[in-house]
């Protein structure tokens, strides 16, 4: 007699159920071989029935056992719906199906540990971007531009921008000459490839993004920059010329900086910038989390850690106020590169973001070179689910508020605003970026979209989001060599390059009708919304 206890876990408790069609299956074994989560297995299935075939009841026992692919009744190895089985099956015989009656939430906290996963927020599904549209079209009022013919200037500042009257100019012999050093400012593309750390990403994925940046700069003159993330930088990159396209990040764990510092004397060029990461939009309040499974040898080396679960504290120790952050962190990071490299700070968007920005705007040392705010729809490689789903702040209104707070003081544009967290979530990064810039951002940053261009199949509806496990089926966020080698580094880089080239064209397609040949920072008059509440909150026109 086969039985089961009511409290045992079975497939109907799990978030995804495998549908296997025995009739189509040819037992090629591809699905089980491919599954990185060990969620399915081949088993024999008993079909034993007694039938009657004559005109009267006469028992005839038919017994057979056939091989099938079955889902494991296991929490530890539950299907995440990545669909690799469906992808590889030659006969359309297997696929994962979402289970609306999943009980995973009730079952997955055994041992008293909160649920951890990667990916992004799965609760918030709104897209304010999609309710805003570029509604002020230059037709007969002011001349509209032609995206194909005219030249456009898509450059955004990274670094402390002095207002005109504070520039230390002296007139000499009919020429303007600088009398003092001004804070370093790099004018870069309004799209930054955001921080995804070595360790969160595989070496191939990280290198693919870096290669794409190099390619876009060298072959297409698009000054896109990439942030390293909080896991350090590869030594070979730091010693190369390509370092000038990189923004180096320091986060609360301060990982990887030993190698960075030691590489400083050998750097041929300066990095494009430094970002001090205080918080992350996807999981504010939860520090960095790199599970031991992903702390492979190279990560141990670069970060200077043993193979252990790496939990960085959410806060930088030793920073107890905004002013202290400015004086200590900004000063130290500026000093590290002898005040040649601009330093910005990244926070998770929060109800307090405007206060923080206002405080930074008062920085008398002119060492604060940018305020990056990260919204709730951003991605992460690993987090406690309670932080992922239940902490964070939407980015659009917060960016707008920061911008308008600066405008009120006449200080807009001095500490550039960069916004991110779900930009390009639906694949429309250019539209999202344009609207964000019109609302007051100098530029945007995105990360999740890049790995989706590399092949990531996760989404906001609970598909995969297993970046923390080390079992990434596409080889993007794992350190398991068997999986990393699944990733085609050239194709991944190519997808990013092609997307960015299209982004560039799409930006122009949006700039042209509003009549801007430079980035329309703060041109909120160009935007219109069909939602009253959004119009009120953002201070843009309502239309219906």
């Amino acid at each position: 007699m086969e039985t089961m206890r009511t409290q045992e876990v079975t497939a109907n408790d799990l978030p995804w159920k495998i549908e296997h069609n025995t009739l189509r299956c040819t037992m090629c074994g591809s699905c089980v071989a491919a599954c990185t989560f060990n969620a399915i297995e081949a088993k024999m299935e008993r079909r034993s029935v007694t039938i009657s075939t004559g005109h009267q009841p006469e028992p005839m026992q038919q017994h057979k056992a056939i091989p099938v692919i079955m889902q494991k009744n296991s929490l530890a190895h539950h299907c995440v719906g990545c669909g690799m089985c469906e992808k590889i099956c030659p006969n359309k015989a297997i696929k994962p199906v979402r289970n609306p009656d999943s009980r995973l939430n009730m079952l997955a906290r055994s041992g008293g540990a909160p649920i951890k996963r990667g990916g992004r927020n799965n609760l918030i599904q709104e897209r304010t971007f999609d309710k805003i549209i570029v509604g002020r079209i230059s037709q007969m009022t002011d001349p509209s531009l032609d995206a194909e013919r005219h030249s456009f200037d898509l450059l955004a500042p990274f670094g402390r921008v002095l207002p005109a009257h504070k520039l230390p100019f002296k007139q000499e012999n009919g020429e303007l000459r600088l009398t003092e050093k001004t804070p370093p400012v790099n004018w870069i593309y309004p799209l930054i490839f955001s921080d995804m750390s070595i360790g969160a990403l595989s070496t191939r994925a990280w290198e693919a993004v870096a290669m794409a940046v190099g390619y876009l700069n060298e072959k297409h003159n698009l000054p896109v920059r990439m942030s390293s993330g909080e896991g350090g930088m590869p030594v070979n990159l730091m010693k190369s010329d390509y370092l000038k396209y990189m923004i180096i990040q320091i986060a609360s764990g301060h990982f990887g900086w030993n190698r960075i510092v030691r590489a400083i004397p050998q750097m041929k060029v300066d990095p494009a910038g430094i970002i001090i990461k205080i918080g992350q939009g996807a999981k504010p309040g939860d520090g960095g989390l790199l599970p031991a499974a992903k702390v492979a040898e190279h990560v141990q080396a670069i970060r200077g850690v043993p193979k252990a679960d790496l939990m960085s504290p959410p806060n930088h120790q030793g920073l107890y106020s905004i002013e202290e952050s400015v004086q200590k962190m900004f000063m130290s990071m500026n000093a590290a590169f002898k005040f040649r490299v601009p330093v910005a700070i990244k926070c998770a968007a929060s109800a307090t973001s405007v206060s923080v920005y206002n405080n930074l705007l008062r920085d008398p040392y002119l060492i604060c070179g940018g305020f990056f705010i990260d919204g709730v729809q951003g991605g992460t490689g690993a987090a406690n689910e309670v932080s992922l789903d239940h902490t964070g702040h939407p980015i659009i209104s917060k960016t707008r508020e920061c911008y308008l707070a600066a405008v009120k003081q006449g200080l807009q544009g001095q500490i550039p605003l960069w916004a991110g967290g779900g930009v390009g979530l639906t694949g429309n990064a250019a539209a999202d970026a344009f609207k964000m810039i019109c609302l007051g951002a100098n530029g945007v940053f995105l990360g999740k979209l890049l790995i989706q261009l590399c092949g990531c199949i996760g989404n906001e509806q609970g598909r995969c989001n297993a970046c923390n496990t080390g079992h990434c089926p596409t080889g993007i966020c794992t350190q398991d060599p068997r999986l990393v080698k699944r990733l085609d580094i050239d194709k991944a880089a190519q997808n990013i390059v092609d997307y960015t080239l299209a982004f560039d064209m799409e930006m122009k397609k949006l700039m042209a009708p509003v009549g801007n040949s430079t980035l329309p920072v703060g041109r909120s008059d160009a935007l219109v919304t069909t939602d009253h509440a959004i119009a009120d909150k953002l201070g843009i026109q309502y239309a219906c």
């Binding site: 009841p57 540990a113 130290s332």
Partner: protein
């Protein structure tokens, strides 16, 4: 050597300016710096000499982060205390502080050395790392640390010497080593609150001592406290903190509620007084007592529809079962247990109520039970071996009486039948037209009864005197005299009416009674139709049958009459009988020169004692068919009915009589028809009319409702092989389900074609709960 004073009377150099000044000097080749600082930050790193020469700094009053990101080749001596973040991200330099340090000293240092000759503040040593390419960072503190020391440390060596720290409860502060995953910490002095889930504390081992011993002089020399050498070299005063390995680290709370319940919790459980719970966990499928439902094999608990409908309760499904088993003779004999007239009644005159609701009728056509009766003409049952010595007299040799006789003789009693007529058989013999009941069939069956030993006394009318005699002479009497008094309507001219009963009796006696040319028959029952047919056979030209209500005759009989030219009219109410015919209530004349009435008969009961209970002229008998002590009745004496009713009642009266003679109690049997949904008709293929077998082969179609047909489907279908077929001592069999194997799934009930297996709620009591402890 470059000396920098960072302040004059009113002006203080900014950090930026100081650092740029140092940068320029280093770039120009300077190697030694004396700096009078005034709180400027980040003094000392990351710096490298263009020719790789070592850099030396002596600093007073630095701000925070002195020596941060310090590169190898840089040495910094702080002559006095320094505030927070000394040696932050130290990348290989040597930093010595001859004084106290502030918060977060040596924070994130990944190589190099930090020596502090005093106390350090909170979070010191936190996030220290070890880049495996280089030597481990070292961090020595002469006195004590503030709280949260060495938080998230992942590499490096830290040493806290505990000098001048007796006043502190813990020289490592509170909550030390939280999140520590790597590195080693040595300390000397009291410590508490070290994070147990991250680290373990133990004594020094040989290589620990070797390290401390080897480095102690460099430390004490750097901070200029060589006199402490002996005091700090008592190695048994030292302890070592190591992080738990990945496997040692408790990743989960090891919640052990079983042990808790067994050892610590209320003994016997909190419900122990009202509950006996062994806390064993059952699976959702169980055997035995814990099955939700249990199967029962209830053979013949329900009657087949044929058995139920037949007023003689003939179980025709058993006959077909026997035929299916090849026991032909036994099959044909079985019906004789219930009736001596399978040929005359079942096969000839009975309307075959058995076939009306045969389950097979819902598939194709009902089993041909009626015709099956004809095959029982030539068989008989064995004569009884044991005689009881009791004598029974039966009054009236009709179907009721003869069936009672047939039953009683086989039960071992001596039976005598007293019949007024010349022949036995009652209306079978006297009234039913030979066309409907072949005489040879009847005569054979009457002979069978005689052959069994029943004594026939014909031409013997039992009057009151004879009755009293019989009562004295016999141990029991069965009064089955039927109903032979024709009912006549009390209308004017009723004397002209010929009783149909007499008419038919005359025909059967071989007399050919005269008939008119136009005959009117009052009463359209089967009897009326028999009269009409008889009239035609005797030469009537036109027969009109009338009735006050819809004719009750069988369609077959009506059709026969109409084929002969007869006409049925209803409703017709007779007002008067005249020589011309019948005048109806509505004043019409129905022409006829002979009026025969066939509206039923009443029993003649005057031979019985006067104290009989009567109802509408018929006897009222108990459920046990008694009308007196040892006096029984059955058939038309109680209520006019069909042949089969008389036969069924006759048998039951005989069984009641037998019980009486044996001094036992008679319980009238109660039949329950099998509910149709218990049967599985899916097994059976619908037959085309040309494929319907003959009656004696119709076991191919009979389902065997309510009676096990021994098909073995249950045994072969039971998923747990829990069902066995057991042969019993008397040769019969039963199917049994073993509770130890059975899981109560009900597949047996689901597949059983005959509805024998039934699944019911498991009523076995489980004594889990009680009202009080005992």
């Amino acid at each position: 050597m470059k000396k920098i004073t960072t302040f004059d009377e009113h002006n203080r150099m900014s950090t930026q300016d100081l650092l740029q000044m140092i940068n320029e000097a280093v770039a120009a080749g300077e190697t030694e710096f004396h700096i009078e600082a005034s709180g400027q930050h980040d003094i000392g790193g990351p710096l490298w000499h263009p020719e790789g020469k070592p850099l030396k700094f002596v600093v007073t009053n630095p701000g925070q982060r002195v020596g941060s990101m310090c590169l190898p080749g840089t040495e910094i001596l702080v002559d006095g205390p320094a505030p927070a973040d000394i040696g932050w991200l130290n990348a290989g330099g040597k930093i010595v502080v001859r004084g106290d340090g502030g918060d977060t000293t040596s924070h994130c240092a990944a190589s190099g050395t930090v020596y502090v000759g005093g106390r350090v503040g909170t979070r010191s040593g936190s996030l220290m790392k070890h880049d495996p390419l280089y030597a481990q960072p070292e961090f020595w503190v002469l006195k004590n640390c503030g709280s949260f020391s060495f938080e998230f440390m992942s590499g490096g060596i830290a040493v806290v010497c505990g000098v001048d720290s007796e006043q502190f409860a813990s020289i490592l502060g509170a909550r030390s080593c939280v999140g520590m995953v790597g590195g080693t910490l040595y300390f000397r002095g009291p410590a508490s609150g070290i994070s147990e889930k991250d680290v373990k504390v133990g004594p020094l081992e040989a290589d620990d001592i070797a390290y401390l011993d080897g480095k102690m002089d460099d430390f004490l020399g750097s901070i200029d406290r060589p006199e402490l050498r002996a005091e700090l070299s008592r190695w048994d005063e030292w302890k070592k903190v190591s992080p738990l390995s990945y496997d040692e680290r408790p990743k989960k709370a090891n919640t052990d509620t079983w042990s808790f319940r067994t050892n610590d919790w209320v003994k016997g459980g909190i419900f122990g007084d009202v509950c006996n719970d062994d806390f064993v966990v059952n699976g959702i499928v169980s055997n035995g007592t814990y099955r939700l439902r249990v199967p029962a094999w209830e053979n013949a608990r329900y009657a087949a529809p044929c058995e139920f409908n037949c007023t003689a309760s003939i179980p025709s499904q058993q006959r077909f079962n026997l035929l299916r088993e090849g026991k032909i003779d036994e099959a044909y004999r079985l019906v004789l247990e219930y009736t001596p007239f399978p040929g005359s009644v079942c096969g000839a005159v009975c309307p075959n109520l058995c076939m009306d609701e045969c389950s097979r009728d819902r598939i194709d056509i009902s089993a041909q039970i009626g015709k099956l009766g004809l095959h029982s003409a030539d068989v008989t049952l064995p004569a009884p071996i044991v005689k009881t010595g009791k004598k029974v007299a039966i009054i009236g040799g009709g179907p009721a009486g003869l069936t009672a006789a047939w039953e009683l003789i086989r039960l071992g009693h001596e039976v005598s039948v007293y019949e007024a007529d010349a022949k036995m058989g009652g209306k079978l013999e006297q009234v039913i037209p030979r066309g409907r009941l072949p005489h040879t069939t009847l005569e054979r069956e009457l002979q069978r009864i005689a052959d069994m030993g029943v004594k026939f006394f014909n031409n013997t009318k039992v009057d009151a005197a004879k009755f009293a005699e019989l009562r004295k002479e016999y141990d029991a009497v069965v009064a089955t005299s039927g109903a032979h008094i024709p009912k006549i309507i009390p209308v004017p001219g009723k004397e002209r009416i010929v009783p149909g009963l007499e008419f038919l009796k005359a025909i059967n006696r071989g007399e050919k009674p005269a008939v008119g040319k136009r005959v009117i028959v009052i009463g359209c029952g089967n009897s009326g139709m028999d009269v009409a047919v008889g009239a035609y056979q005797l030469g009537a030209e036109q027969v009109t049958c009338i009735d006050v209500q819809q004719p009750a005759a069988f369609e077959k009989e009506i059709a026969h009459v109409e084929e002969l030219g007869g006409v049925l009219q209803w409703p017709v109410f007779t007002k008067e009988i005249t020589p011309e015919g019948i005048i109806t209530q509505s004043g019409d004349l129905i022409k006829g020169d002979m009026v025969i009435i066939a509206i039923g008969e009443a029993p003649e009961l005057d031979y019985l004692p006067g104290d009989m209970k009567l109802f509408r002229g018929c006897l009222v008998a108990g459920d046990d068919y008694t009308i007196g002590d040892g006096l029984f009745t059955a058939g038309d004496t109680i209520k006019p009915g069909r042949m089969v009713d008389a036969i069924g009642a006759g048998r039951q009266a005989a069984l009641s009589c037998d019980a009486y003679l044996n001094g036992e109690e008679f319980v009238a049997p109660i039949k329950t028809k099998i509910p149709a949904e218990k049967l599985s008709t899916a097994y059976f293929k619908k037959c085309h009319t040309c494929d319907i077998p003959e009656a004696k082969e119709d076991y191919l179609r009979c389902i065997s409702c309510g009676t096990c047909r021994d098909c073995h489907m249950c045994m072969k279908s039971c998923p747990e092989n829990a069902i066995d077929r057991k042969t019993l001592a008397d040769g019969s069999y039963e199917y049994v389900s073993d509770p130890k194997k059975c899981i109560g799934c009900g597949i047996c009930a689901g597949v059983c074609p005959c509805g024998i297996w039934t699944l019911r709620e498991n009523a076995e009591p489980i004594a889990m709960y009680k009202t009080y402890e005992n």
